[in-house]
């Protein structure tokens, strides 16, 4: 039986990062993966979808070539080639993780891992069982798409994200259920490729976790692009045949319509992968929604068992999982006697979120409404892309940057952005939040010209009634 200081169950962006950090700290580490190193993020999530969206983005630009004084004729999208590129990107990164495991001397055990209690774990592969033991185990098994109870995704007419990123043909008429990040990204991808897209959202606005101004702006922008958005709407009934899907949609005003689609993407959230990993044998408690309960250091209620990423509480984001991986590995190293490491718990309000639709959405911290709810007296800044030279030069004058400050303390409570490249910009505010900068720090920072980042400066200035270019 091989024994380790640390075994990580699951090799997604949480698990493999935890393993590497553990190895860096001198621990003897193994990782257990039933499928592909890199998990969903690399193989079926963040990365391959970004590859797809890049294709649709370029296609979008080609269709608007004349805006830039260029001519592009007889443009068409080859879905098979687009998917092939996306799979190529995923495969390249998967090999990258394999290399990182080797470089950090992390033993990879392929197979279905199961906790046996008492620091033991079994790995089943091709009917063969191997038993391992470790002083500490991190559960990083992630999550999967939540199914509609009425219609399970089968990959033919009803898709999850996983099917949606490897289509063999383009849908002709697509229904997307759910307008969170995943739903909107796929809707945006297919819409850019010319597919007629309908989005159904139960809540009274799309991207419901974002600031209300973001939702309003995006609803307008997407409608202009041809999206059919149905908010405060419900799927009453859904039926798939070999040829099509029929959905009964109850609209905001209560009227029910029956509509036919070629395909449906179900993007109504995730469920954690807590089954068949032996949790019941260890005493680890899941919460009501079956996410594993952990404290601020990712410790479960059982000594020596830790959990990170999507299998725990939200936000369910790859970078949150990675950061928790580092945190847990450091806390484990400390528990094993390393006095050099100083693990610091993560403040969820400092975790940014990004949606790679078109225009992009990015945010960190509290929305204006949440900030007020929490009792803050706020100062709100807002700066539109039309006031920024670089945005106009890029032909991307659509969007805005909103900042929410505490009026008394100057703390940046939240930042909310829509527009080109905002997913690359948000980290500026995130660093500021982590370092607990106040408005004067942002105001006194010199932002390079000409860049989109100047709007970040202007938005802060605007919160203090000092915006220069608007």
């Amino acid at each position: 039986m091989s024994s380790y200081d640390l075994i990580v169950l699951g090799s997604g962006p949480g698990g493999y990062v935890a393993a590497i950090r553990g190895a860096q700290l001198g621990l003897k580490v193994a990782i257990v993966e039933r499928e592909n190193l890199g998990g969903i993020c690399l193989n079926w999530g963040c990365i391959p979808t970004k590859a797809l969206l890049r294709s649709s983005e370029i296609f979008h630009y080609m269709n608007h070539a004349s805006d830039y004084g260029l001519k592009a004729e007889a443009i068409s999208a080859d879905i098979a080639a687009i998917v092939k590129r996306s799979r190529g990107v995923a495969s390249k990164l998967n090999q990258g993780v394999t290399h990182l495991m080797k470089k950090n001397k992390i033993t990879v055990h392929t197979g279905q891992g199961k906790l046996l209690g008492g620091g033991k774990l079994s790995v089943v592969n091709d009917g063969k069982t191997e038993e391992l033991s470790a002083k500490h185990i991190i559960i990083a098994t992630g999550a999967r798409a939540r199914d509609l109870p009425k219609a399970k995704a089968d990959g033919k007419r009803i898709w999850t994200y996983r099917h949606a990123m490897t289509p063999t043909e383009l849908p002709t008429k697509l229904l997307v259920i759910g307008s969170g990040a995943i739903g909107i990204e796929f809707a945006s991808f297919y819409n850019d490729l010319g597919v007629k897209v309908t989005v159904v959202e139960m809540m009274d606005r799309i991207l419901p976790v974002e600031d209300a101004d973001v939702s309003t702006f995006m609803a307008k922008a997407l409608t202009k692009q041809g999206f059919d958005l149905r908010i405060s709407a419900n799927i009453q009934k859904i039926e798939a045949t070999d040829a099509a899907v029929t959905a009964e949609i109850k609209a905001k005003d209560g009227t029910v319509t029956t509509e036919e689609f070629s395909h449906v993407i179900v993007a109504i959230g995730i469920v954690p992968n807590v089954e068949n990993i032996g949790l019941e044998d260890t005493g680890v408690e899941p919460d009501k929604r079956y996410h594993i309960k952990v404290d601020e250091y990712c410790r479960t209620n059982v000594d020596g068992i830790w959990a990170i990423g999507d299998v725990t509480a939200p936000p369910w984001l790859a970078h949150k999982a990675s950061h928790e991986g580092v945190l847990a590995a450091e806390a484990i190293a400390q528990a094993l006697g390393n006095t050099e490491v100083h693990p610091h718990p993560i403040d969820a309000k400092n975790i940014p979120g990004c949606t790679y639709c078109h225009p992009q959405v990015a945010s960190v911290g509290l929305t204006e409404a949440k900030a007020k709810e929490a009792g803050h007296e706020v100062k709100v800044g807002n700066f539109p892309f039309v006031g920024n030279g670089k945005a106009i030069a890029l032909g991307e004058a659509e969007g805005f940057i909103k900042t929410v400050f505490d009026a008394k303390t100057g703390e940046l409570l939240g930042a909310h952005m829509v527009g080109a490249e905002v997913t690359e910009l948000i980290q500026g505010y995130t660093i500021g939040k982590q370092a607990e900068l106040v408005e004067t720090d942002y105001i006194q920072t010199v932002f390079p010209h000409p860049t989109l980042s100047e709007m970040m400066h202007e938005s802060v200035l605007s919160a203090y009634s000092r915006a220069v270019h608007f």
Binding site: E296, Y297, A335, H342, P343, T409, V438, T440
Partner: protein, 445 residues
């Protein structure tokens, strides 16, 4: 609309002070320039003048309140006939006023137990709990900009807060629950509970942490601001400045003779020059003649002064202060004498302005009048040297030609910051000083 009177910063480094005495009361009319209060800083008591005119509406900080943060609203001025109660500043009253005696006590304990302040926060400590913070190893307080502002807004004493951020940085989360208005009692309690998981505090520290348990009958006296400053600065000096001590034996006969003649000549002008005045002048000249010793060490750089400002240690009730004779190298002995007399008088009355005791390029401490034969003085940072002058006494002396006689002589010891000053340079300074005292006409030329 009331005008808020805020605790003034009476020197560039002042962060808090004691509101020693109100010179006005509620309802008094004041005009710009009227004295409002006496504010005691760590070094001196200063008068605080009104800038605005009106009627004192409310006095929000009672006299005798210690550790009033700069910027705290201490009173309001209202227009004639205006209602005082409408003041927006009222809520600050509670925050600024001293709380129960017990809290004060805890506050002092927190200050007095630096070893205990270095332990990890206890709140989250379990048996094998991860510990997020590192200790405040260095003297600089690491504070996030937001935490700094919150502390300023709420009057939280950051020095008593344990940082949990990267590198022990104090972050917003560390301030939740910290007592406002500068009474960090519960913060002090938390580290105590966590003591077992940290480096054990030395036994002596444990005793000082609970002085009331000390078995010998005693009275427990609170430290004055000045005593705290002296303690902090001398500890800093002895812990961070490598001292080198150079002692010379100096004959005083010629100087005493010169002093007699000078005082005869100056008596009509009412001037009486002391030995100390002459020694101040001698040190001033010596420092300019040996500029290698008229310096200040600053880490990557060094300041080389072009004139000598001598801080002179003056013993005052409850401590010591060092008023400065500026340009001691060029001032006449008579001028130094007059200036020193004025500075010493005002120092004893606690009426020195900060500019009169902050600065100086070197110090002089004279314990001759107390009969001390020889002593080594502690450098007064950021200065790089101090001269310790002992008593002049008649001693057997070997004169040139190996004849034995009686001379009046004294031991003088220079303490030098060895980071900035080499032994040989220090020795040159001592030699020049000795020469000036033994052939004192150079002091009046």
């Amino acid at each position: 609309m009331a005008i808020e009177i805020k605790m003034p910063a009476l020197s560039p480094t002042m962060e808090e002070g004691t509101l020693a005495k109100w010179l006005v009361k509620e309802g008094d009319s004041v005009a710009s320039g009227d004295l409002l209060a006496e504010i005691e800083t760590d070094k001196a008591t200063m008068e605080f003048e009104a800038v605005d005119e009106g009627v004192i509406g409310q006095i929000l900080v009672a006299e005798g309140t210690e550790k009033v943060k700069v910027g705290t609203v201490i009173a309001t001025i209202i227009a004639e006939g205006e209602e005082a109660g409408s003041s927006p500043a009222t809520p600050e009253k509670a925050a600024a006023e001293p709380t129960a005696k017990a809290e004060e006590q805890n506050k002092e304990e927190a200050k007095d137990a630096p070893a205990e302040a270095q332990v990890a926060p206890a709140a989250k400590a379990q048996a094998a709990a991860p510990t997020p913070s590192v200790t405040h190893g260095d003297a600089r307080l690491k504070v996030s900009p937001l935490a700094r502002r919150l502390a300023a807004n709420d009057g939280i004493d950051l020095s008593a807060v344990q940082g949990s951020g990267p590198g022990g940085r104090i972050v917003k989360a560390d301030l939740t629950g910290a007592p406002k208005g500068g009474a960090p009692a519960s913060v002090a309690a938390a580290p105590k509970a966590a003591a077992p998981v940290a480096v054990p505090a030395p036994a002596a520290k444990a005793a000082s942490a609970s002085p009331t348990d000390y078995p010998t009958p005693h009275e427990q006296v609170k430290l004055s601001g000045m005593r705290k400053t002296i303690a902090r600065r001398l500890t800093e000096s002895k812990q961070t400045v490598p001292h080198i001590y150079l002692t010379v034996d100096v004959r005083l006969d010629a100087l005493l003779k010169l002093r007699g003649e000078l005082n005869d000549a100056l008596s009509s002008r009412g001037i009486k020059v002391s030995v100390n005045d002459l020694l101040i002048k001698a040190l001033g000249i010596a420092l300019v003649q040996v500029p290698e010793c008229n310096v200040q060490y600053q880490g990557d750089t060094m300041l080389k002064f072009s004139r000598a400002d001598i801080s002179v240690a003056v013993s005052i009730p409850g401590g010591l202060i060092t008023p400065i004779v500026t340009e001691a190298d060029t001032k006449s002995v008579a001028a130094i004498s007059a200036e020193m007399k004025d500075l010493a008088e005002r120092a004893k009355a606690g009426k020195l302005q900060p500019s009169e005791y902050q600065g100086g390029t070197a110090s002089l401490s004279n314990m001759g009048m107390m009969g001390i034969t020889q002593f080594d003085a502690v450098i007064n940072p950021p200065q790089a040297m101090i001269l310790a002058v002992s008593a002049g006494e008649k001693r057997p002396w070997v004169f040139p030609g190996d004849t034995l006689g009686v001379a009046t002589a004294m031991y003088v010891t220079g303490s030098f910051d060895h980071r900035a000053i080499d032994g040989a340079d220090g020795a040159r300074l001592m030699s020049v000083f000795k020469g000036l005292v033994e052939k004192p006409l150079g002091l009046i030329a």
